[in-house]
Amino acid sequence: MSFSVTEPSGRQKLFAGFLVAFYALVTIMPLAWIIATGFKSPADAIAYPPKVVFEPTLEGYVNLFTTRTRASDEALQERGAPETWYQRIVRDKGMMIVGPSRYGERFMNSVIIGFGSTFLTVFLGTIAAYAFSRFKVPLKDDLLFFILSTRMMPPIAVAIPIFLMYRQLGLNDTHLGMILLYTAVNLSLSVWLLKGFIDEIPVEYEEAALIDGYTRFQAFCKVVLPQAATGIASTAIFCLIFAWNEYAFAVLLTSGTAQTAPPFIPTIIGVGGQDWPAVAAGATLFLVPVMVFTILLRKHLLRGITFGAVRK
């Protein structure tokens, strides 16, 4: 079609494109600022007016991963010349490294709890979604609504008894406890999304497999699962992102061994208040993977955030 009454004119397109690009640039500023601040020296980070051009340094990253102490010149001399680049950065400030910080541990906790709960959520979600999609489950609609309604509870409201229950079971501040909790939180998303994806796979494929002598279970594994692979993958990424970002339960139920990064990053402090380059460095390492996943997921984004209610 060369001409259509519904096609916007060239001028309209240009105008719309300009406005949207402007909004995008404004909205990306805080994120760009986080990444830039991670490479600033503490003095540059709090300079007035805010510095757009600055000399990049890895000081923030070094501070993020180490604990340091101020040392006298003699004490520094005694230790000999700094051996590595990060020791040199710290030494230039008249300080020395006394050990690693807790950021690495907290980040690993986020990884373990994020991936552990994602695996469990997607596994349980897939089989439940398959059953809801293909079988006559008694009270199906009620059960599905019940699963969705668990998402409406404010986390703090559920946190009180979970705190008590976990204390009794010895699950407070453990990886297992957090994995189970995040699995329960994300199951509603996983079941609803995956049911949508499985509903879209024609039933005829399985029927053909059943006629060929497959058992129902074999048909599920060999026919349905490969067909649902994209749906399962995007569901997994959504669950991972939600578990990764979760803060309320993490801050209330973990304090040490199982604490994840979101409650930890805001507590990174330096001399006289928050060490902003280190905070920004920690935030960058924590946020960038999610940005990459978001870009990879953009086709399924809408579906994921609306629990499958809106499909494109």
């Binding site: 259509s4 916007p8 309209q12 397109k13 240009l14 494109g17 406005l19 949207v20 995008a24 909205t27 805080p30 986080i34 601040t37 007016p49 349980l124 439940a128 398959y130 079988f135 006559k136 059960l143 019940f146 699963i147 309604s149 668990t150 409406m152 509870m153 404010p154 703090i156 409201a157 009180i160 008894p161 705190f163 229950m165 699995t183 329960a184 199951l187 039933v203 059943l210 058992t215 129902r216 992102i241 990764w244 970002n245 803060y247 309320a248 979101p262 990053i265 902003w276 905070v279 935030a283 924590f286 999610v290 940005m291 978001t294 870009i295 953009r298 809408l302 955030i305 609306t306 494109k312």
Partner: protein, 315 residues
């Protein structure tokens, strides 16, 4: 959903035969597949909820485990509903809910409308715009306190640059008059893309033929917008409002990092207020009653809203 011949066969075949022929019967498989999910949700959602309801009738305090909890009937509920502090935080929540939804709907719809003009590169810009939405609210909220610093903060600098005000003359998160807007700004920044994506799906679902027909009838663009675009996007928009409403009613992480509820109690949303009662003052029984009230409120409002949404859809 129609019943497939296989399912009908499975339903009519005696279970013993079915097992021999097909391994597990469909019925057994359905239960095995659904049970773990239901059990986990019962253990980690429903059991705690029932426990909360039970605690809400007592004066139990977690930090005094040795003291016997006493059953005090509805006294907690009575105290909450007559407590001025709680009404203040309800008001703060209402302010936050109303204005975040208002801005997100207006800006989100406008962006979707513009993106739907299908200019070149709209995919790229859309992807950039959605980024804030997927990030950790706590980590991002914490960083916004840096952007909001008087003098050195980027936000204050930009506002100062545009309006000519002195960037150190105001503190978005430190002043009673500004703090409620500080949290509205950050939430709008984060979640406008959510409303935008849903509106975009709505706009794209409208077939061109409707506009072509309107064009034949010589309806003006303005009229087309109000009689075609808006009514057809409305169900999508209402769904977006439902999601944002529930999420922002539960709001905790972003705001607790931004303002911690302060200054005073100006941004102390109900979740933050509840956290204080439960995990700082350790008034477990009282906080449980509070939690029940919040849950009933969100559930009740959501159900009423869904009914309205379905009515709009039916039209």
């Amino acid at each position: 959903m129609s019943i497939s011949p296989i399912e009908r066969a499975a339903a009519t075949t005696p279970p013993g035969v079915a097992r021999r022929v097909k391994g597990l019967s469909d019925r057994a498989l359905a239960w095995i597949f659904v049970a773990p999910t239901i059990l986990l949700l019962l253990a980690i959602n429903i059991f705690p909820l029932i426990w909360t309801i039970r605690l809400s009738f007592t004066d139990y305090r977690v930090n005094r485990p040795n003291r016997e909890a006493e059953f005090i009937g509805l006294r907690n509920y009575e105290r909450i509903l007559t407590d001025g502090d709680i009404w203040i935080s309800m008001q703060a929540t209402a302010h936050f809910l109303f204005w975040t939804i208002f801005f997100q709907v207006v800006i989100g719809f406008a962006l979707a409308y513009l993106i739907n003009k299908k200019f070149r590169g709209n995919d790229l810009w859309t992807t950039i715009i959605v980024l804030p939405m997927m990030l950790s609210p706590a980590v991002v909220g914490n960083f916004w306190t840096f952007l909001y610093q008087p003098q050195i903060g980027l936000f204050n600098y930009v506002v100062g640059f545009l309006t000519g005000a002195d960037p150190s003359s105001f503190s978005m998160i430190g002043e009673v008059a500004l703090a409620p807007w500080a949290i509205v700004i950050v939430d709008t920044w984060m979640w406008t893309p959510f409303v935008m994506l849903i509106c975009l799906a709505g706009l794209r679902s409208i077939p061109d033929s409707i506009y072509e027909a309107a064009e034949c009838d010589r309806a003006s663009k303005w009229r087309q917008f109000w009689t075609i675009t808006i009514p057809l996007v409305l169900p999508f928009l209402m769904l977006a409002v439902l999601f944002r409403g529930i999420e922002n009613f539960k709001m905790f992480d972003l705001v607790v990092q931004l303002t911690g509820g302060g200054p005073g109690a100006t941004t102390e949303l109900t979740s933050i207020n509840l956290k204080r009662e439960a995990f700082e003052k350790w008034r477990t029984g009282y906080a449980s009653a509070y939690a029940v009230i919040l849950f009933v409120t969100v559930f009740g409002l959501a159900s009423i809203y869904v009914k309205a949404l379905n009515k709009v859809k039916e039209r």
